[in-house]
């Protein structure tokens, strides 16, 4: 564990543990004059369950987008198992083992639950596009066209592959308790199940790191409690490192072992839930300094 007691301490790169599954090193991102994220550090190991919190507009989702390749960092670097991934496209980063869910659910609405998961499962069987060289690209393109022909000719190997994907996707639906929704279109699922389907889909891409963007948004208390148990279980069963963005303090404090707090793009605190909760800066960010004045410091 790289849980660092000091607030705002960078994740030290020279630990003896194996290379972090996902690491951000001094990542900053600027949109015009707006600094959305400043000197952001993060390190996720297998078995970690980290939280990322902060008031609205603090840069949490921006951090996610940088980690998954949607945005390019203006400074600093993102590393997946010591491979620098700045400049890689989101799908390439996904193939390296980083999967995410979205704050506003982004399922393939017209596809069935099963097909949603199968899309993610499939991508992983494609050649890994971790290199950007022209030669590799050509080989890849040739392979993809060949694959396309296999599908058109319905070759036995293609049929076997389809059955394998189906079995894998069905397994994931079962894990997420969605087996009964197998053939239902994603848009017809109730909200909570859509959230779970999104996680199932993310798992379909066989990640080593799972990034959950407000997984409990819109859920009731009971669903949230179930979700907490589920996230822990997934981490253990799939041997993942998990990073959770969450507004719900109870959820974050309940499951995360280390929490990073962002405000205005800056990391203002990092540490165990109890430490973060009593951190002066955090309280200030969430409740304003007038609260501190009237209550005479950290509660």
């Amino acid at each position: 564990m790289s849980a660092n007691a000091q607030p705002v301490a960078p994740a030290s790169p020279d630990t003896k543990s194996p290379p972090a599954l996902l690491r951000a090193d001094g990542v900053s991102i600027q949109f015009g004059g707006l600094k959305a994220l400043t000197d952001f550090h993060l390190s996720i190991q297998q078995g970690d369950l980290l939280g990322l919190i902060g008031p609205n507009g603090a840069g949490k989702s921006t951090a996610f987008n940088v980690l998954t390749g949607v945005y390019q960092p203006s400074q600093g670097q993102v590393l997946v198992r010591d491979t620098k991934v700045n400049g890689r496209k989101p799908h390439q980063i996904n193939l390296l083992g980083v999967a995410r869910t979205f704050q506003n659910i982004r399922l393939f609405r017209a596809l069935t639950a099963l097909d949603n998961v199968k899309v993610a499962c499939r991508a992983q069987t494609a050649l890994h596009q971790s290199r950007l060289g022209l030669g590799a690209k050509l080989v890849n393109a040739g392979h993809n066209y060949a694959d396309w022909w296999k599908a058109l000719l319905l070759t036995p190997s293609f049929q076997r592959e389809e059955r394998r994907l189906t079995a894998q996707a069905e397994h994931l639906l079962e894990v997420m308790g969605l087996s009964h929704r197998r053939d239902e279109e994603a848009r017809n699922l109730p909200y909570g199940e859509q959230r779970r389907l999104e996680i199932a889909r993310a798992l379909g891409s066989q990640p080593r790191v799972l990034l959950l963007d407000e997984p409990a948004a819109g859920m009731n208390t009971r669903e949230k409690a179930d979700l907490m148990v589920l996230i822990r279980k997934l981490r253990d069963d799939f041997k993942l490192g998990v990073l959770v963005i969450e507004h719900d303090m109870k959820l974050v404090m309940g499951i995360c072992e280390q929490i990073t707090v962002l405000d205005h793009g800056e990391t203002i605190a990092r540490g165990a839930p109890a430490e973060v909760r009593s951190d002066r800066k955090v309280i200030e960010a969430y409740l304003g300094d007038s609260y501190l004045e009237s209550h005479g410091g950290a509660a």
Binding site: T68, H91, F102, R109, A110, L111, A151, L154, L172
Partner: protein, 354 residues
């Protein structure tokens, strides 16, 4: 892979897996041959049938891009033109050639097939060149680029001596037959159907539904979009090639923007994403002008109206679209396919595996 490797279930099918790939062909080719030999109707019926077939190929192939992948291409006639001119030109050049080991008619058909494939590949190549830069971007860029491409091809042909300028290419050997056209109709429908049901098709659907999410799930969106576009252009080229071999003359006027829009209308009318819909709409919209012609003729309204059907056709298409968008915005078939709706004769749907 972290989750335990799951056993791959056996194929629950009556047909051995090795045969499933070619089974439809084994059934279709004799049927089409029968259809071909039994067809002794008038020249006009043959011609109309061929036009219907070509339009089906165009609509089904465009549906792969506009419907399944959710990109908006409005230059399909451009790719058709490439196929028509290249295939026609090839046939003209090979007119005097015959394969000595085959009877003349068979030799002609082989050369015809060759010309078609040359045309199709040329169109696919154009699709690749057009698609690669424009499909990297999200949104409407493809529409603009394909619109431009269609016009460029038309203007290019209009000013190239080898392609007969505005007069067009004439004297292309009339190798085509409804049998051949419908062989390709069959191929494109089969290909579209298999594509839709495969992991490639699912990736295309995913792009249509949510490109950002597809990308985040490891789908190489640019790659898939380009492949679907190339695939679609290939069949447009084939359709053009077929067209060139049954009309007496091809000229730039056959491949205008209006032609492209006609195909788009077919796809939208049938339902974006439904191959069945594309087929039905292509048949309907091709026969509609003929129907109107004979209707107006029979009604005996001013003879001029029957003659002006070609001019009033587009407003009628427009009206049809407006009515459709108001009453059934997803198109006639939505994304449904006839083979999903039909009562299941074969135990095709696998249940309770794993």
């Amino acid at each position: 892979m972290q989750s335990p490797a799951l056993p791959v279930p056996e194929a629950p099918s009556l047909v051995p897996p090795a045969l499933r790939g070619i089974l439809p062909l084994l059934i279709a080719i004799p049927t089409l041959a029968l259809f071909h030999w039994s067809l002794t109707g008038s020249d006009f019926a043959t011609y109309l049938l061929s036009v219907v077939g070509v339009n089906i190929i165009l609509a089904v192939s465009l549906n792969i891009v506009n419907g399944m992948t959710g990109q908006f291409s409005i230059g399909h006639a451009g790719f058709m033109a490439v196929g028509a001119y290249i295939a026609g030109y090839t046939s003209l050049q090979l007119k005097e050639v015959a394969l000595s080991f085959l009877p003349v008619s068979a030799s002609d058909q082989v050369l015809f097939m060759l010309a078609l494939l040359v045309g199709g590949v040329a169109a696919a190549l154009c699709g690749f060149l057009v698609g690669l830069p424009s499909l990297r971007l999200r949104g409407d860029y493809l529409a603009i680029v394909t619109l431009g491409f269609g016009e460029i091809i038309r203007v290019f042909v209009q000013n190239t001596d080898a392609f007969g300028r505005a007069l067009g290419l004439s004297g292309i050997p009339q190798y085509s037959s409804p049998g051949m056209v419908f062989f390709w109709v069959f191929l494109v429908v089969l290909a579209a159907r298999r594509l839709a049901g495969s992991s490639h098709g699912r990736s295309l659907w995913a792009i249509r539904e949510d490109e950002v999410a597809a990308e985040a799930m490891g789908v190489d969106t640019t790659g898939y979009k380009v492949r679907s576009f190339v695939f679609s252009s290939f069949f447009a080229g084939i359709a053009g090639g077929l067209f060139a071999h049954f009309v007496p003359i091809i000229n730039p006027g056959s491949f205008t923007f209006v032609r492209s829009m006609e195909i788009v209308v077919m796809v939208v009318l049938g339902g974006l994403g439904s191959t069945t819909g594309a087929v039905v709409a292509a048949i309907f919209l091709t026969l509609l002008p003929e129907g109107m012609r004979s209707l107006f003729g029979a009604l005996g309204t001013e003879g001029s109206l029957a003659q002006r059907v070609d001019q009033i056709r587009m407003p009628i298409y427009g009206l049809l679209l407006v009515v459709l968008m108001l009453s059934r915005p997803q198109g006639l078939f939505g994304t449904k396919e006839i083979w999903d709706v039909l009562p299941r004769w074969l135990p095709r749907k696998r249940r309770g595996l794993a």
